[in-house]
């Protein structure tokens, strides 16, 4: 027995057996609080310094000797007060933990040149058994599999799984490192193809590894091991866009093993090709951007695709869909008036006052028959930019207004087709009457007549007689004609407003149009206000130029003209399909639904007061966006609850792009309809980018102080340090302050002090 521990055990704890303790340390066992210990220590220092002042008469050597004795004595007193003890301990070192983490995501099921990636990992694990056995002597080996999360296993299953739907390397590493309860994590041995579905980049991987502080030994797959494939690797686009403003969709492509030089990428909306662009590959990757201006608001689905190659391993990653929510910046309104008039003036004033409206006005201030009494330079007139307005600029407007406008003097006949097509493609058109409007503007048999809500041809000319309009059945529940005060019956408001004057007769409503207000004094009650949805757009007809009476004359009768403001405000909102004006609304739970999960949406039904309407019957269908050959992919019925909401559910929907179409009715009254696009994801995110990402694994290894090897190479030498962590099994404390030896030392110091002072003549 030669070590200090054995010596201490023999003399301090002779009753303990040999080897009972393998460590010792000196500890203080005093019960004095820290502040008391500090006070005592300070008092002793002060006492020594004070006593030194009384020794100035002595020679220097004696003074030093006495001070040393006093300091030693003070230290000894302090040590005794701390009640020192020797603690004998039986300790053992905790074994280091080594995590072996194997990627179990679906991308590991992809083929390499010899079996799947998971099979290659299993072979490597088997081949590395001797290395693991050597490690197991110094450390605890913990097997994990991971995908989106990590899973601690007893042992790796055979065969290795490859069925996780996502890979989140960062999260999995964090979880593995976090499972070190009582054990140091010495290293992580990571088997993966590096395909991270959360988009982990090499830079982000370096930061992650540095933060973990654990060496990562990564075993990955070289880039050349990928099976032939062409994939849309990433689609970069904002979640929303502004109407009529340029949208940019960036697409990253990647190909391996196909030797492609270029392909054609296609952007589609609702199955219709918007753009096709050739893409050239460089180093196996390519980038293409699509720019376009959305023309309608709401959620819209776009598809990007590249052609499937003959020997591709995965076809589903050749297309991607995305949902873009198109919102309105400002409402762009084009107001074209045939002449200055009070009707034009009050409408312009209202539109200009609306901060959400971007108004472009063109008024015909002088006709071809008016006299010229000034040179052109003395006039503030500008040419009517017919061509610009009705060709290039037309699609940029949300609403086009013809207000008592006669197109014929401006040789505009061929531009009327553009207006019709603009409506068919989703634009909104409003024609306001007057002696230049409708029949008197000779719009019968023109392309515009095809989209108007009125039938024109052969009706009587503009009539200036006064009349009081009458609300129709459709008008009573239409948002446009809800212009009265809160709680006021819809019919009553039109009875109290000033009568109108000036009327463009017609042959009645066009097919599919709704008449909201009618002239009750003429045969057949021709429409005063009619609306129509045609093609993708909406049209509205107001067959008078006297609506300004509701503004100015109403003020003269004690009103405030709010009915005029509300009428045009409602009209504008209806024309632009303001979602806030819809009484039936549908919202999908998710725009992109993973395959196998149901499509869920909430239908909200509102009453005329725009509060939730309970008890309404909701019918919903899920139809493919391209119409589909086999009919709807699902149907659902529901009844709205107390708040006017109803949940609808379409289970077992095959992959594709769909539109949820919902309609609602209450006691036979149709309350409206709404629709919302939704994507059922065809592709597997794990298979969207099939190519191994060794660069991600290399970044993890380098930044963590580990190493990277390809799957064909041997496991590298692991630099595993011995654990620093100790585990104490038992202890025993032997006091050393209350011994004869301690007292003898103290007495010896005091006696030496006394003897020296006596010799120095101080006593």
């Amino acid at each position: 027995m030669t070590g200090p521990v054995e010596f201490l055990v023999r003399y301090l704890a002779p009753d303990a057996g040999a080897g009972a303790y393998n460590d010792w340390r000196l500890v203080a066992t005093t019960s004095l609080p820290t502040w008391a210990q500090l006070t005592l220590g300070t008092a002793l220092v002060v006492a020594i310094v004070a006593s030194a002042l009384g020794l100035t008469r002595l020679a220097l050597p004696k003074r030093i000797l006495l001070l040393a004795l006093r300091a030693l004595a003070a230290f000894w007193v302090l040590a005794l007060l701390l009640q020192p003890a020797i603690e004998l301990r039986a300790v053992s070192r905790v074994r280091t933990r080594i995590a072996v983490a194997v990627d179990a995501s679906r991308s590991m099921s992809l083929a390499t040149q010899d079996g799947t990636r998971a099979e290659a990992v299993a072979e490597h694990l088997a081949a590395s058994q001797p290395a693991f056995a050597a490690l197991a002597e110094r450390a605890t080996i913990q097997p994990f599999t991971f995908g989106e999360r990590s899973h601690l296993l007893e042992r790796f299953p055979d065969p290795l799984p490859a069925d996780e739907g996502h890979t989140d390397l960062s999260r999995a590493l964090t979880e593995i490192a976090g499972q070190s309860v009582g054990q140091e994590l010495g290293a992580i041995i990571l088997y993966s193809d590096g395909v991270d579905t959360e988009g982990l980049t090499p830079d982000a991987a370096r930061k992650k590894a540095a933060k973990l502080g654990v060496p990562i030994y990564a075993v990955g797959f070289p880039e050349g091991s990928a099976a032939p494939d062409l994939a849309i690797r990433r689609v970069l686009a904002d979640d929303f866009a502004f109407l009529h403003n340029t949208v940019n969709i960036e697409v990253e492509l990647e190909e391996r093993g196909l030797g492609l030089d270029d392909v054609v990428a296609t952007l589609k909306q609702d199955g219709q090709v918007l753009q096709s662009k050739p893409v050239t590959f460089a180093g196996g990757t390519a980038r293409v951007s699509f720019e376009f201006k959305p023309r309608t608001i709401g959620k819209q689905v776009f598809q990007i695709s590249v052609p499937v190659q003959s020997n591709e391993v995965v076809e589903s990653n050749n297309q991607r869909s995305l949902v873009l929510k198109v919102i309105r910046d400002r409402i762009r309104v084009l107001q074209v008036a045939g002449r200055p008039s009070w009707d034009e003036r009050f409408l312009r004033e209202l539109l200009k006052r609306n901060p959400n409206v971007d108004l472009i006005s063109f008024f015909i201030l002088r006709s071809t028959t008016d006299e010229q009494k000034a040179s052109q330079e003395e006039l503030a007139l500008i040419p009517f930019p017919v061509n610009d307005l009705f060709t290039t600029e037309l699609p940029s407007f949300d609403v086009v207004i013809y207000q008592n406008f006669n197109y014929r003097p401006y040789k505009m006949a061929h531009y009327l087709r553009n207006v019709r097509d603009y409506v068919q493609k989703g634009g909104s058109f409003l024609m306001i009457g007057g002696d230049f409007g409708f029949e008197d503007g000779a719009y019968a048999d023109t392309p515009i007549a095809e989209v108007l809500p009125l039938m024109l041809g052969g009706s009587s000319p503009f009539d200036t007689a006064e009349f009081r309009p009458r609300l129709t059945k459709e008008g009573r529940r239409h948002p446009i004609t809800r212009i009265g005060e809160p709680g006021e019956p819809p019919d009553a408001v039109f009875r109290r407003l000033p009568p109108l004057a000036g009327f463009n007769a017609s042959l009645g409503a066009a097919p599919g149009a709704q008449v909201l207000l009618e002239h009750p004094g003429l045969p057949g009650n021709p429409p005063l206000v009619a609306v129509r949805e045609i093609g993708g757009g909406r049209t509205m007809a107001v067959t008078t130029d006297s609506l300004w009476f509701w503004r100015f004359l109403a003020v003269g009768e004690g009103g405030a003209g709010r009915e005029f403001d509300r009428f045009w405000g409602n009209s504008l909102r209806w024309l632009i399909r303001d979602p806030e004006l819809a009484r039936v609304r549908v919202k999908a739970d998710r725009s992109a639904v993973p395959l196998g999960e149901p499509v869920i949406a909430e239908v909200q039904v509102l009453g005329p007061d725009f509060r939730g309407l309970p008890g309404a019957k909701v019918n919903a269908v899920l139809v493919p966006v391209d119409g589909g050959k086999d009919g709807p992919a699902g149907t659902a019925q529901a009844v709205t609850g107390p708040e006017g909401g109803a949940m609808i559910n379409f289970p077992d929907v095959p992959p594709g792009t769909y539109v949820i179409r919902a309609s609602a009715d209450l006691e036979g009254e149709n309350l409206g309809k709404a629709e919302e696009p939704v994507i059922v994801e065809a592709s597997d995110v794990e298979l969207e980018a099939t190519f191994p990402r060794p660069e991600v694994l290399k970044a993890l290894a380098e930044a963590s102080g580990g190493a990277y090897v390809d799957i064909d190479d041997n496991l590298p030498e692991l630099d595993i340090k011995d654990a620093r962590r100790l585990e104490v099994d038992r202890t025993r404390r032997i006091p050393v302050w209350d011994t004869f030896f301690a007292l003898t030392v103290l007495l010896g110091l005091a006696a030496s002090e006394w003897w020296i002072r006596r010799r120095a003549g101080l006593l």
Partner: protein, 251 residues
């Protein structure tokens, strides 16, 4: 006084108008056509009875505005006041104070979109009419004082590019006005615009125009047309699309 001779076509047209009645010639006025109410405030409210009719005729001839040629006398307390968003208040000499009801209705008319053109037929700043107008405007719109209208305001470019003041006599080199929500609801001329517009049934100008002669009369018509156009189109000529054209012509 030198008066421009009318051409044969004008004579024939005016003769026909006299024989048939102007509304018949121009067609029945539509609900949105320009009708002007001439404010009857008592006193010398109609010292230029032919002036407004002539101006409206010129408006109809030179612009695409459809006009009702006959200005209608209206009283501020009358039931028809709000049928005339454009009011013309001409006068000479003193006139009685407006009643409280008249003041209230005129305030409402102007606040909700009406336009009032005041024309001092005396052309005498500080005279009895001018004093009376200022007194009544202070009652009608007490929070909005009269102020000079800047020469580059849209009123001077709504149809003609007008650089000069106009009227029978150039007494004041500016127009005054009152704005409500950035719009001139009241425009006040002290240069007797109506005196320059007035023309008798035989086609003779009723008043000599000084010092600018017939050019000054033409400017008075142009300013009158611009004011009518302003009432109907507001700041349309301030829209960006017009700016480059107007700047070029102003150079």
């Amino acid at each position: 006084m030198k008066v421009r001779q009318r051409n044969r076509r004008e004579l024939l047209r005016e003769g026909a108008a006299l024989l048939l009645g102007a509304p018949a010639l121009m067609g029945a006025a539509g609900p949105s056509d320009l009708r002007v109410g001439q404010l009857d405030t008592g006193g010398g409210w109609n010292t230029r009875p032919t002036a407004l009719r002539r101006l409206l005729w010129e408006v109809g001839q030179r612009t695409s505005i459809e006009v009702d040629l006959e200005p209608r006398p209206v009283q501020a307390t009358g039931p028809d006041l709000f049928r005339y968003p454009f009011l013309y208040w001409s006068g000479a000499g003193a006139f009685p104070s407006l009643s409280e009801e008249a003041v209230r209705r005129l305030r409402r008319h102007l606040t909700y979109g009406g336009t009032l053109l005041i024309d001092n037929a005396d052309a005498e700043p500080g005279g009895t009419f001018d004093t009376g107008v200022r007194r009544e405007l202070a009652r009608i719109l007490p929070r909005q004082p009269l102020a000079n209208i800047a020469n580059d305001h849209v009123i001077f470019k709504t149809f003609y590019l007008v650089d000069h003041q106009a009227g029978r006599i150039l007494r004041v080199p500016y127009l005054e006005g009152i704005t409500i929500e950035k719009r001139y609801a009241v425009v006040y001329s002290q240069n007797d615009l109506g005196g320059a517009w007035a023309r008798d049934a035989f086609g003779r100008w009723e008043h000599e125009v000084t010092p600018g002669g017939e050019r000054q009369r033409e400017m008075a018509f142009r300013l009158g047309i611009n004011l009518m156009m302003y009432a109907l189109c507001l700041d349309y000529k301030d829209d960006l699309v017009h700016l480059p054209f107007i700047l070029k012509r102003r150079q």
